[in-house]
Amino acid sequence: MLGGYVIVTVSFLYLSILFAIAYYGDRRADQGRSIIASPYIFALSIAVYATAWTFYGSVGRAASSGVSFLPIYLGPTLTFILGWFLIRKIIRISKVNRITSIADFVASRYGKSSFLGGLVTIIAVVGIMPYISLQLKAISTSFAVLQHYPDIEMPAKLGSTPVLQDTALYVAVIMAAFAILFGTRHIDASERHEGMVAAIAFESVVKLFAFLAVGLFVTYGIYGGLGEVFSRAATDPALARLFTLEAAGGYSSWISLTLVSMAAIVLLPRQFQVLVVENVDEHHIKKAIWLFPLYMLLINIFVLPIAFGGLLHFSGNTVDADTFMLTVPMAEHFPAIALFAFIGGLSAATGMIIVETIALATMVSNDLVMPLLLRFGRLHLSERRDLTGLMLAIRRSAIIFVILLGYAYVRLIGESYALVSIGLMSFVAAAQFAPAILGGILWKGATRLGALAGLSAGFLVWIYTLLLPSFARSGWISESFVQDGPWGLALFSPHALLGLSGLDPIAHAVFWTMVINVGLYVAVSLMTTQTMIERSQAVQFVDIFKQPSEGARIWRGTATIGDLRRLSNRFIGETLTDQALQRFERDRGRRLDDAHAADADIVHYAERQLAGAIGAASARIMIASVLREEMHDIDEVMQILDEASQLVVYSRQLEEKSQQLEAATAELRAANERLKELDKMKDDFVSTISHEFRTPLTSIRSFSEIVHDNPDIPVEQRKMFLGTIVQETERLTRLVNDILDLAKMEAGQTDWQLARIEPRKVIDNALAATAGLFAKNPRIKLECRVAKDLPRILVDADRITQVLVNLISNAVKFCDKDNGLITIVGRAEAGSVLVSVRDNGVGIAKEDHKKIFERFRQAGDTLIGKPQGTGLGLPISLHILERFEGTIWVESELGKGATFFVRIPSTASSAELPHPATAAREIT
């Protein structure tokens, strides 16, 4: 009742359900109503980690070495505890940079290096090859075992059956078809396959239930529960040994398995695909970090009971422990459970193959083939209008190639290894990515050359310590290569390099690959320097959570938006390009015109869209080809500028601030000086004024007292005293008037009576007013030479007279007492009238030339010498002249007399004469 046809029919039924789910998922995604946008689906899709290895191999492993199957699940649990920031960081980086595979990630981190991307792809394809072969082997073996029901027969060696009768080949072909159907239906800029994820999640449920069903059946159906299984096993010393760690290979094996599985859960290409690329929302990580470990716990609970059940059941028999999942129910004649187990195993294997081959195909096309085609056949490719077809073809071939590679491996080598041992080789290969990726997101200093050295050396050691020995085991290479080392050099024995023996092959390989990989990665990184683009990528990766989004970039337009559109059309098709550009227009709120030059924003956006389809390195090359110039340079320069300009801006701001501070300090200091001076001047002013007032007051008082106390002094004398009092009072009055005058002028409250007058008239007025002075001092001669026809001036006649009177009376005061000569000259100059008053007195020292125009400043020391005037005459004159836009200055030398000059601008035309009424009221 369980012939080959039944199994095949059920299998195809199951696969068509899968196909239906995937089809439905894709359709819903196209409609924008995703069915996988849930943390539970996300967690289930991560469970693609549980493959045929878990399903069949764990039991086999447990039957031979106890708990040693467990580190493979404990390691991922530990990694997932850190997942909230470690995995989320990788997701964030990948979303921002449109990274679609491990190879893309490494290439992008280390300066968008296409060489590094290619290397990672090769490591992944070669490294994963045994793992895929494991799945093929599991399916074909389980099919063969089930086919013989009710007999329990171990299948013949795969290598011995003709290729065309080999189930593994048909499984491989069907799997390839399945992966091509789901994985390469179309080229999507985001590389997401919603239908596939939905199918994978469904498979995870199926395999979990199948495993639990078999587990419950064996534990509670055949035996009386967990206790009975273990207690019966304990009676057999060969089985009791499995309860200890010793059977599991000891500490070194335990630790190395934990380490590689910690890395593998993220770095296996299919895990990266479901965890990072297919992730819908990074918040789903939060639930997944405990849901997925819970899934692993559940699927592992019954591994040991089944293993012991099988061992007890078939003691002494030659049944392969890897088939216990099937053979135990078969031996108990429960074909339905055996069939369910087969379907569970099928779902575990198909899930792995589908996701793994799609992930690898993306890598092969984006990071290996496309960069090569672009680099070497660029001209040829550029002529082709639509490249989406080419890319799909590359991917489909890559899927077939990868699966056939796995098939070749299983036919040649697979039969000589247990399932888990094959899978562990791939784990160690995947772990080679750990230093470059972990270092890449945590250490800015890691360089491209460091990653290149670490990866390639680690991979070579992996080939030497694991892959070559597996060839040797199948007879490809002489067995003595492993036993005695190459050419009998024991020091280079692949399982005991440099004499390091005592470790099992996996632990040995983990140790050496990691020592070499990490060692070279760190050492070379420390010894080499990063290029600018490496540096900027490193900063972007490590500080991904610190960046607001993308910094503003400057771009020198060399391509039009139309160029970018055409480029994008060729790789992701017109519909998707239009959608992407429309999204851009909507998000940025700007219109895109094909004829316009592309700015940094749109170039960057286009590059990321392309990166999704063809990988970061290829996208860069293509964009660069469109921009028709050394984009590196500009891009790099921009990247550095982004960083450097920040620094420059800061330092410039600092410099500016300090300069401003200095200027402000200087101003403050100057203001302070001025204040001090003003303060001193005020003190001087008060003391001078008191002095000026005291002298006349003293004489008024003393003469008044004399007159008051001596009523009988002669009339003549009294008259003389009273005359002095009157004189001194007049002087006081004059002083007070002057002070008031000056104060008014300084406050701008003087009334000016403007009129156009002839200068001559003013001079005459002044001479008339001072005639008395010359009468009193007959020894002073006056010369007056005033030119005729002087131009008129617009002034207040009284004020100008006051200035001239002031100057003349000063001249009288200071000129030679015995042989005085005062010369007054009036003449016209260009646009002005110049009047000078010259005396032949003591003169004024050069340093006093300015001082004398300040209040109460007189030449010489006024406090000691006898005061010669109020000290306000010249300051008042200066104010008056400033009002009429004229100037006043002195030219003099000590002992040679002094000449005061007054220059007043003449009125050029009558038009400038202001209206008398307004002029009279004008207040300055």
Partner: protein, 89 residues
């Protein structure tokens, strides 16, 4: 950028605790041929530690982080304010 603060620190602590539980030498202490409730001690220990780690992880990430809650549900301006204010007579 969402806050990572407290959750991240707790998870790092839990990771170190998990490393202690699941690696030598501590597991060596349970590597004995004894049975507890019919189950070998080593198996029981490994599965219970595993379950404990999962439970603690769930506890840490599922408990609402007060800071994050506030950041995500920032209260908007209250529409009831203003228009309902009665003008003073």
């Amino acid at each position: 950028m969402p806050r990572r603060g407290l959750i991240a620190e707790r998870l790092i602590g839990l990771f170190l605790f998990g490393l202690l539980l699941l690696t030598p030498p501590l597991i060596g202490a349970f590597d004995k041929a004894t049975f507890v409730g019919g189950i070998p001690l080593l198996y029981l220990y490994l599965f219970l530690s595993w379950a404990l780690l999962i439970a603690l992880t769930a506890l840490i990430v599922e408990r609402p982080d007060p800071d994050e809650e506030i950041a995500e549900s920032e209260p908007g301006p209250n529409p009831d304010q203003g228009p309902n204010r009665r003008p003073r007579a």
